[in-house]
């Protein structure tokens, strides 16, 4: 263990600054390193051969990927027949592009115009996705937060709201796709509805639980100061749970993104999902990876911004 700093293995002990940044970078660099190993070290995996010269094997084309087994059998066959053997080099399957290919794709995806003039650019697709998420999440917050706070404050509301919500949250949101299209048409409305359905029921339950965690002593103190009813909600319960509520919303926003992909397949395929399926169809897996990475980056950056904003908004909560 002397190789690594001792503090790494003390339970719940704070890390020194250098270790902290080192580990944060490693957290991203390690997966990238493994990906690079698999991509650039042929001995590791590379189950395919990319043909550079088809030789006398007529059915092999330059640039084609064939299984190693088939390739070597062909080479042996051609050699034994005295003909020109095909040539090629080890390669990974098309669905695992190398890091540099994805990096290039990440750049070119934004600079390449769409194949057809009526198709959206990548950034337009992304913007559309973000709009769908924003609307779905907005409606979920508008309905879910008030209901959750009521359920968390009053036992009566909890008993009225929570049992049905518990039931409904097990119904998979995508199952409502066809219904949503029938009711709301084929454009954005059913997609927003799927994100709403996928998020709102979890939101009610999580907000209710968060509200219940507010110290009852604070509520009692307020009661003895003459504060009750709507005034209690407004002056004590809502401000008291706000920082935790904010954190819940950050987590739930992540959930909304997971429903996005399903939602965008409903009706007319659109947004980033349309881009991904389209690129997968052309076997441009570097573009597929690029698009998936972009979603991850957007999610992470949004969350970091929200976390930073949260510390600004609730300075009194920093001590916790």
């Amino acid at each position: 263990m002397s190789l690594l700093p001792k503090t790494w293995f003390v339970p719940r002990a704070p890390l020194d600054v250098r270790s902290r940044y080192f580990l944060i970078f490693s957290s991203f660099l390690l997966p990238l390193f493994i990906w690079s190993l698999v991509s650039y070290v042929p001995q590791l995996w590379h189950p395919k051969i990319e043909i550079t010269d088809s030789g006398d094997a007529g059915y092999l084309r330059v640039g084609m990927l064939v299984d190693k087994e088939i390739f070597y059998r062909e080479v042996e066959k051609k050699e034994s027949e005295g003909k020109v053997a095909p040539e090629g080099f080890p390669s990974n399957p098309v669905y695992l592009p190398a890091p540099h290919e994805v990096a290039t794709a990440l750049y070119t995806a934004f600079t390449t115009p769409p194949k057809r003039s009526n198709e959206p650019w990548l950034h337009e697709s992304l913007l559309h996705s973000i709009q769908v998420i924003a609307w779905g999440f907005f409606w979920a917050v508008l309905i879910g937060v008030p209901l959750g706070i009521l359920a968390g404050t009053y036992e009566a509301f909890a008993k009225l709201i929570e049992p049905f919500t518990e039931f409904f949250r097990y119904l998979p949101a995508p199952a409502f796709g066809a219904l949503a299209v029938a009711i709301l048409g084929i454009y954005d409305a059913p997609k927003i509805a799927i994100i709403f359905i996928g998020t709102v029921f979890q939101m009610i339950l999580i907000v209710a639980n968060t509200t219940r965690k507010l110290s009852p002593a604070l509520v009692e103190a307020a009661l003895t100061l003459g504060c009750n009813g709507a005034s209690l909600l407004k002056r004590v319960i809502v401000p008291g749970v706000l920082p935790d509520l904010y954190r819940d919303m950050r987590i739930l926003l992540g959930w909304a993104w997971t429903y996005l992909i399903v939602a965008e397949l409903i009706g007319t395929s659109s947004g980033i999902t349309w881009f991904i399926t389209q690129q997968a169809r052309y076997k441009n897996f570097d573009n597929v990876f690029a698009a998936i990475l972009i979603i991850g980056v957007i999610g992470l950056v949004t969350d970091l911004i929200l976390a930073w904003l949260g510390r600004r908004l609730f300075p009194w909560n920093n001590s916790k």
């Binding site: 009692e220 100061l225 401000p239």
Partner: protein, 308 residues
């Protein structure tokens, strides 16, 4: 209380009642009643088991009196304060505070809790303003009043601080200011200093007495610390446990004002010993369940074979 020398049931502390002290209690008895509790009963239900916590409590507290409530654990002293505050329901009996029957919490009965209950999202000033704003006072007035109360508890420097920036003792001082700012008739205090270290606690007790002397407030103070009870109280309400009943209401035979040195006096110690005998009956033998089944576990050849 009977102070007759020839009565065999003469109170053990009878000798301590000087004429001045007796006269003071006479004056207190003639004041209007601030808290009247009649036959108060309260049962808790837990897993279909009934537990009678308060088995018919009767007592009065007079205006501007300082009354402590002591008793063995489980005697329902906290429950009593919470019931008077309106935070707990009761089965039967009634409570009259400053002329009106208690039904639910209200600003006429302020409360200070054992836990720190300042609103963490509000500055000290906003916390103290809370009750004032609630009663409809306009912002500027409330702010002026709040600052006066904060000054009274000696925390003017911290008016704009958040609770988490204050020590435990300071937080409780703000909690007292917040409760008093709402102008309650009585102040219920549920072991408010029990989380503080002894030094801070002694300081808080003196602060509290000083505040109490200078404003029109009746205090019902729950504690398990008998020193605290004797030092603070005019009268001590001693409760029995299972169910909680009034054992005795003791008039503390100590003059006022009470300097801190008074705690070392014979009168103080005698009063405390007497309370001790009421609250914790002498232990003759440990219950079988309470006895630890210990055997000598130190090797005989140990370097330190025993602790003596």
């Amino acid at each position: 209380m009977n102070h007759n020398e020839h009565n065999p049931n003469r109170h053990p502390l009878a000798d301590l009642y000087t004429p001045e002290i007796t006269a003071r209690f006479e004056r207190i008895r003639n004041r209007p009643v601030a808290i009247e509790v009649n036959q108060l009963r309260k049962t808790f239900y837990h897993k279909k088991q009934e537990n009678l916590v308060l088995g018919g409590i009767d007592f009065n507290a007079h205006q501007r009196e300082f009354m402590c409530v002591v008793g063995p654990s489980g005697c329902g002293k906290s429950t009593l304060a919470r019931t008077i505050a309106g935070l707990e329901t009761h089965d039967s009996g009634d409570m009259i505070v400053a002329g009106s029957h208690v039904s639910g919490p209200g600003p006429d009965r302020g409360m200070v809790f054992q836990k720190y209950t300042l609103f963490p999202w509000m500055s000290v000033k906003k916390n103290v303003m809370f009750g004032l704003v609630q009663s409809g006072q306009d912002k500027a007035d409330a702010e002026r009043d709040a600052l006066q109360w904060i000054d009274l508890v000696g925390l003017s420097k911290y008016a704009e601080s958040y609770p988490h920036q204050l020590s435990g003792g300071m937080q409780q001082r703000v909690a007292i200011a917040r409760a008093l700012a709402a102008q309650p008739k009585v102040l219920l205090m549920d072991e408010p200093f029990s989380a503080l270290d002894p030094q801070n606690r002694a300081k808080m007790q003196q602060y509290l007495l000083e505040i109490w002397q200078n404003i029109d407030i009746t205090i019902l103070f729950i504690t398990h610390d008998l020193d605290e009870a004797v030092y603070l109280s005019d009268r001590v309400l001693v409760l029995d446990a299972h169910p909680g009943r009034v054992r005795e209401i003791l008039e503390v035979p100590l003059p006022r004002p009470r300097p801190i040195e008074l705690m070392l006096s014979d009168e103080f110690q005698a009063t405390k010993r007497y309370l001790e005998s009421l609250v914790h009956p002498p232990i003759t033998h440990l219950d079988v369940e309470e006895k630890l089944s210990m055997v000598q576990m130190v090797p005989v050849d140990s370097e330190v074979p025993n602790i003596f």
